[in-house]
């Protein structure tokens, strides 16, 4: 069954510019601000939690910021990082990053008090499951759809933010949230205690924690009961208006997630990566190929895309 296109519009750069709906793009325009390191905690050999003090308009789950490096450091461009948590009142912004290249290694050396340039919040957020309902009638029963969050590796961060917001959403407008976290090995499952969801499932490639499988394998194994398509979330008895899949992780994993969503006819939203320069949609540098040989800008029209719009044969990550 081919998923129909859902209520969240995803069109070409130019058309979207005209059609921008404030409810879809985050309300506040981005600002450039100075972010001060509050804490920079090593969670494992190469995973870090960065707690920044910064005055920035409220970010929504799926949005990201561009972080500049100190002047004495070699890398030139700011680096994009998903928001893992944001409390504008406390001016607290949390980023989870893995030290993999020159820029993130410089980040990993920062101590409290260090200052960084920041641009944010940027990009489009994950739509809530309720917004994705295919027919408004679905919501009539007062039941929001099931949200199934599938995170691979450091893709966990934005989905942790998403799950936390869903949990806190007013009036139970959000339905149950299943969180599936996959990693290569147990030592890399560094953020489990930060996940707040209805249920959390874990897999590792080497079986050192949770199911020994990829996170997509885990997803498929869970699919039998609760039937995602029907939205029966295990202990729920009443029928729900279906499930919505959310994914963040390596390119290969997202590609598989999309295939799965397609095969099950489920709407699916993924957060993509591309090398970025401006973060604002002005340099045209972060293009990814959509179906129909169109390009979209990850920083402005993404990073969250409905998976059926992406040309997966072309997508390789950043």
């Amino acid at each position: 069954m081919k998923p129909r296109k859902t209520a969240v519009p995803q069109t070409s750069a130019r058309r979207r510019r005209r059609a921008d709906a404030p409810s879809v793009v985050a309300g506040a325009p981005p600002v450039e601000a100075v972010a001060e390191v509050r804490r920079n905690t090593a969670l494992s050999a190469d995973a870090f939690l960065l707690d920044l003090m910064v005055d920035m308009p409220a970010a929504l789950p799926g949005q990201f910021v561009m972080l500049g490096l100190p002047d004495g450091a070699a890398p030139l461009l700011r680096r994009p990082f998903s928001v893992m948590g944001h409390d504008p009142s406390r001016k607290s912004l949390e980023i989870h990053y893995s030290a993999r290249g020159a820029g993130t290694r410089v980040l990993s050396e920062l101590r409290p008090g260090h200052k960084l340039g920041l641009l944010g919040p940027l990009g489009r957020h994950f739509p809530q499951a309720a917004e994705v309902a295919r027919r408004p009638a679905d919501l009539e029963g007062g039941l929001a759809p099931l949200s199934v969050l599938v995170a691979g590796g450091r893709g966990t961060a934005p989905l942790i933010f998403f799950a936390e917001r869903a949990r806190r959403s007013v009036g139970g407008s959000s339905g149950p949230v299943l969180f599936l976290a996959g990693a290569r090995t147990a030592a890399q499952l560094v953020l489990l205690d930060r996940i707040h969801a209805t249920e959390v499932f874990v897999s590792t490639d080497d079986g050192s924690a949770g199911k020994k499988d990829t996170v997509i394998g885990l997803l498929k194994s869970l699919d039998g009961q609760p039937d995602f398509a029907l939205g029966a979330a295990g202990r729920e008895t009443r029928r729900r208006p279906g499930a919505v899949l959310y994914g963040c992780g390596p390119a290969g994993m997202l590609r598989e997630l999309h295939s799965y969503a397609e095969s099950r006819g489920l709407p699916c939203f993924v957060s993509l990566e591309a090398r970025m320069a401006c973060g604002l949609g002005v340099c045209q540098g972060c293009a990814v190929r959509l179906t129909g040989s169109r390009y979209a800008l990850v920083c402005k029209e993404g990073p969250v895309f409905e998976s059926c719009l992406v040309d997966w044969a072309q997508y390789e990550g950043a």
Partner: protein, 341 residues
């Protein structure tokens, strides 16, 4: 077509007048002391500051409003415009190198029709000067874009991009020889009364000759320079790092190179030069002015902070005060060679 007339026909004059805001002086913030005059003239066009946003890094200025104080930049040079809408080249389009950025965007742009219908009306609402960058794959392309935009009104000057290294058979082809560059200027000069700038490629043996050829055909000024042809390879896949194979290198890495190119050009021609290449600080900008540039463009450095142009303007003001300069004219082209030379 005198400079006088050209100035009075720029739309800026009318707008400035109608709003009654003097565009001349830029405030450095607080402080009552008389401010140095930052304004510069490029052909008939007066810019309130000598710091422009380079083509391709600011789009059409729309998204920038929140993060850049556009009143502090002398002008925005728009993303190069071609007759047809272009989706651009396959990704990846960016690759970072030591102190540099390689890009191969492939002149992704809205095309003439979209520009006239959607972008230009927005641009006219800006208070900043607008320099429209004109691109193409044939002489006819350049003519079409320039004539149409000129007719529509709203632009304050044109920058002819004969130097984009990222599209086959276009752009740079015209910029790589003095005679071909001259041909473009000869064709375009009669089509507009607005200042006509030519953006040169640095990827040539003798940029001075290309500059001289453009000026002799009536170019009002030269932008020096576009990016440097560059390549990077992914060892894992043995494929180029950019979808378009080669890319153009920009950023601090190229500043010493473009400074030499600006010197070559200002030593050769009298026309005003707008320097562009790796400018990140006021010192960078001032070095170019000392070497003979009239104004500067900021590109890649915006990606580190969109406040860079504003900080550069502030830094220039501070330098002028420290050195008791009342106008940039006193600084321009004042490089002296060491006595040993």
């Amino acid at each position: 077509m005198s400079r006088q007339r050209r100035e009075s026909t720029t739309p800026a004059q009318g707008r400035r007048g109608s709003r009654g805001r003097p565009a001349r002086s830029v405030s450095a913030g607080a402080g009552g002391a008389r401010l140095p005059d930052l304004s510069v003239r490029i052909a008939g066009l007066r810019l309130s500051t000598p710091v422009l946003l380079a083509s391709g890094v600011a789009g059409y200025g729309e998204e920038m409003g929140e993060v850049v104080d556009l009143n502090r930049v002398g002008a925005i040079v728009t993303k190069t415009l071609t007759p047809e809408e272009r989706a651009g080249n396959p990704p990846p389009r960016l690759f970072e190198t030591p102190a540099g950025l390689m890009n191969n965007i492939g002149l992704a742009n809205v095309g003439l029709e979209g520009f006239l219908a959607e972008v230009l009306p927005q641009l006219k609402r800006h208070r900043t000067r607008i320099v429209v960058s004109v691109g193409g794959f044939s002489l006819r392309d350049y003519e079409k874009v320039l004539a149409s935009v000129d007719a529509a009104g709203g632009a304050h000057a044109f920058e002819i991009n004969v130097s984009c290294p990222n599209v086959r058979a276009g752009g740079i082809h015209f910029g790589c020889s003095a005679s071909r560059a001259a041909r473009v200027v000869r064709a375009l000069r009669p089509l507009t009364a607005l200042p006509l700038l030519v953006k040169l490629t640095p990827n040539v043996t003798d940029i001075g000759s290309v500059a001289a050829a453009c000026v002799s055909e009536g170019a009002d000024g030269l932008t020096v320079a576009n990016t440097y042809t560059a390549l990077a390879v992914d060892l894992r896949t043995r494929r180029p790092r950019l979808g378009g194979v080669t890319g153009g290198l920009s950023g601090p890495a190229v500043k010493p190179l473009s400074l030499a190119k600006v010197w070559e050009v200002t030593s050769r021609v009298k026309a005003p030069v707008i320097a562009c290449g790796g400018i990140s600080t006021a010192e960078d900008a001032l070095e170019y002015i000392v070497v003979g540039a009239t104004a500067v463009q900021v590109g890649t450095a915006c990606f580190r902070s969109f406040k860079t142009p504003e900080l550069i303007v502030n830094g220039i003001i501070a330098y002028m005060k420290e050195n008791s300069l009342s106008s940039l004219q006193e600084l321009r082209g004042t490089m002296t060679l060491a006595p040993a030379e």
